[in-house]
């Protein structure tokens, strides 16, 4: 990616918003106005005020502080699973495209299976076995999360490998590594990066749904999803408790998707959502 491309991506509003969110969550221990776990049962379910900018929750804890701290958890789990799926997916996708044969066949079957089993069911199975928690969350989502990346990489790499120019390169004696490095990786990198951004957004929402169902992060830890679940019963009296974490998930997911879209856009590609769609059409 050329330099001005990176600039176009990094100097965009969604990138700024994301950066701000990341900085705020990282700095949460220092900047959040209250201890996120400090209860004040007398001050429960307060509306936003100067003392509590986003109000308080059912235990009188400061919603703003909890959103900031909860973000650390939400974002880091989503980030770890995204990175995991990026690495595993790229490696397996490349392997499958390059090696072909039975490996590819196996890959396709596993993919079919994982595609047929809804993510949330798989997560549920793993949680049933391992019990809820941070690592379970990462694992349960990670088990499936790599497949879209792998499918994308596989199909794009296969596409790259079947081009006339790769055949031409091969025929004048290019090594496997040369082809991978010059013809395949640059072709795959952009869309995969864009897709990773999209996946991050989708995973953030998915992970939130696990917490929301009560099978994700477990109290006293909390993330945006579990905050939503906790706040939902009080939604009529105190909608802020729901709106704040809901908006946080939405904002981050939205911005990161826009960022992904910007990547595909400067690469002259289609909408970032199409990377996911492309990944779905296989075989």
């Amino acid at each position: 990616m050329a330099r001005n491309h990176s600039r176009e991506i990094l100097l965009s509003p969604p990138a700024f918003i994301l950066l701000a969110v990341v900085i705020l969550t990282i700095a949460a221990p220092w900047i959040s106005p209250y201890d996120p776990n400090a209860q004040s049962l007398a001050d429960r379910l307060q509306a936003p005020s100067l003392a509590h900018l986003l109000g308080t929750d059912a235990l009188g804890r400061d919603t703003l502080s909890r959103v900031l701290h909860g973000g650390r958890f939400s974002l880091s789990v989503a980030l770890i699973t995204t990175l995991f799926s990026l690495l595993v997916g790229t490696a397996l996708g490349l392997l499958s495209a390059v090696r072909g044969g039975w490996l590819d066949e196996l890959f396709l079957r596993v993919n079919d299976l994982l595609l047929a089993l809804p993510e949330i069911v798989i997560a549920l199975l793993i949680i049933a076995v391992m019990g809820p928690g941070f690592s379970t969350m990462v694992l349960s989502v990670g088990v499936v999360a790599w497949t879209p990346t792998a499918r994308l990489v596989r199909s794009m790499a296969a596409q790259a490998l079947s081009t006339h120019h790769v055949e031409a390169s091969k025929h004048v004696g290019a090594s496997r590594w040369f082809i991978l490095r010059h013809h395949v990786l640059p072709f795959v990198a952009g869309p995969v990066l864009a897709q990773a951004a999209l996946r991050f957004g989708l995973l953030l929402v998915l992970l939130g749904s696990l917490s929301y169902l009560g099978i994700g992060v477990q109290p006293p830890q909390s993330d945006w999803g579990s905050m939503l679940a906790e706040a939902q019963p009080h939604a009529i009296r105190s909608p802020w408790g729901m709106i704040a974490p809901g908006a946080a998930i939405f904002l981050v997911s939205f911005c990161v998707t826009l960022l992904g879209n910007r990547i595909t856009h400067v690469l002259g590609g289609q909408d970032v959502l199409a990377t996911e769609a492309k990944a779905e059409i296989h075989d």
Binding site: Q39, L59, P219, Q232
Partner: protein, 485 residues
């Protein structure tokens, strides 16, 4: 304003917290759904108002020996399919439950030896030992009576097979049971044309349903929705002491809580009124001890434990307990509010120098360790009067040395002796006296920290008339329930 007249064509929709899962097996909790629906009836009935067991399908009963009880059946009661309810049908129904692989808690071979028809109108129930509580057992929903035709090869078919004021006519799997008025009800005219029991396991959804008038009655409203519903003047919210107490179980069998001083300190550290007011939204009362104050066997002298951090700290020091690693509070996921309760306890324990972590687990995952005594604390809640309106089962299984469900691994011979006496005590007042003494021992020993007595909360729409709340969640659709148009 004068009450509006009831509409004879009206139907009432009840949002129930429980969905039938066992194909209507009467030994399972599905029996409660049939009972709520006004379909299933029992020989006797525990009346919440008079606190006595009263006739229902049986008009009277007598104890013909220590272990034999004869129930005189009501005459001319017909099942909804038109067949006559006779002793044979009743005995068959009860024997069905007794033969179940996983028998009911109140009605099982350990409590009832056999049931037989003496003549057309008399049923004899034989118990293995003297059991003054047998009429209570016969009032439990598991002892319900269905027409012989209900027992089919593929399990139980309740459609038109009950004796109650309402006959089930159709079911939408996993969603609802629809009922029509039983025109031939033995106890007189049924005011409603019919009703529907909707299975809605999400508490918040039940609360919403009564607000949106999709349901007329929503049962077991979660505390979190209480304030909203109470603010709605078209809805009346009914509360009653339920026999459930949220309890912080302490493992009495291993350090540190094998030390009664430390258990007492734990009790003193917790601000129960604040907990009841916050997490429970005032829908629960701070507990005074193992029983709710409204129960006849509760000790009226017991008060809510006062927070006394100074004293508590002293006790902790006196106990000589040196904390090496944080204690663990298991909060079971089945009850959403325990996460918050755990958080509060964690905070308040901190103030007396006890570090604790909250871990959440499904009850199933926690149970093996808890039963094996490998835990520190678990937050759970317990129904003292499961199926029968008497706490003896609870006192026996939960706190005697050999108790089958003694989560806290509590063991006190004096206590065991009292429970043993109560088991065979025929006189109710004396029995209640024994219960109270047993309860006092538990409180004295601070076996657990009883946090709050929960309340049964039902929300009822403005059009409903004649609804009488049953804290034991057995009766909802009754012949007297009515609705204005």
């Amino acid at each position: 304003a004068p009450e509006k007249a009831a509409d004879p064509e009206a139907r009432v929709v009840v949002a129930n917290f429980r969905a039938p899962v066992s194909n209507w097996a009467l030994e399972s909790d599905d029996a409660y759904v049939l009972s709520i629906a006004g379909c299933l009836e029992t020989l006797a009935k525990y009346d919440q108002g008079t606190k006595t067991v009263e006739p229902m399908l049986a008009t009277s009963w007598k104890q013909s020996s220590d272990t034999e009880w004869d129930f005189e059946l009501r005459k001319n009661v017909e099942f909804q399919d038109g067949t006559i309810m006779d002793a044979k049908a009743v005995a068959a129904s009860l024997n069905h439950v007794l033969k179940a692989t996983a028998p009911a808690r109140a009605v099982n071979p350990k409590t009832i030896k056999k049931v037989e028809a003496l003549d057309a109108d008399t049923v004899r129930v034989t118990t293995p030992g003297a059991d003054p509580l047998l009429p209570y057992r016969m009032a439990s929903v598991n002892a319900g009576v269905l027409s012989p035709a209900a027992y089919t090869g593929k399990g139980i078919d309740p459609m038109h097979h009950c004796t109650g004021p309402f006959a089930p006519v159709s079911e939408k799997a996993g969603q609802s049971l629809t009922l029509d008025r039983n025109e031939n009800y033995w106890d007189g005219e049924v005011k409603l044309a019919g009703g529907e029991i909707r299975y809605i396991t999400e508490g918040a959804t039940r609360a919403t349903q009564v607000q949106t008038v999709e349901a007329d009655i929503s049962m077991s409203i979660p505390a979190t929705s209480l304030a909203t519903l109470e603010a709605d003047d078209k809805i009346s919210v009914l509360k009653a002491d339920s026999p459930r107490t949220s309890t912080l179980y302490l493992n009495n069998s291993r350090a540190p809580f094998d030390n009664p001083e430390l258990r007492k300190a734990a009790t003193m550290a917790l601000d129960l009124p604040a907990m009841a007011a916050s997490i429970y939204e005032g829908a629960a009362q701070p507990a005074t001890g193992p029983f709710a104050p409204s129960e006849p066997w509760a000790n009226p002298d017991l008060a809510v434990p006062q927070v006394n951090l100074v004293e508590a700290k002293k006790l902790v020091e006196a106990s000589g307990y040196k904390q090496e690693k944080p204690l663990e509070i298991i909060a079971i996921t089945e009850r959403a509010e325990f996460a918050g309760v755990g958080a509060i306890i964690q905070e308040q324990f901190k103030q007396i120098g006890l570090q604790a972590n909250v871990v959440t687990k499904s009850y199933g995952a926690a149970e093996p360790d808890v039963l094996a005594g490998k835990y520190d604390m678990i937050l759970s809640q317990r129904n003292r009067m499961i199926d029968i309106a008497d706490p003896i089962g609870f006192l026996q299984s939960d706190y005697t040395c050999e108790g089958g469900y003694n989560l806290s691994h509590y063991c006190n011979e004096d206590y065991d002796k009292l429970v043993g006496q109560a088991l065979v005590e025929k006189d109710e007042t004396k029995r209640h006296d024994l219960y109270r003494k047993a309860g006092d021992i538990l409180a004295e020993d601070a076996a657990n920290v009883w946090l709050v007595n929960e309340q049964a909360i039902d929300a009822v729409g403005a059009k409903v008339q004649g609804y009488v709340q049953d804290p034991l969640t057995r009766y909802v659709l009754t012949k007297d329930l009515a609705k204005t148009s």
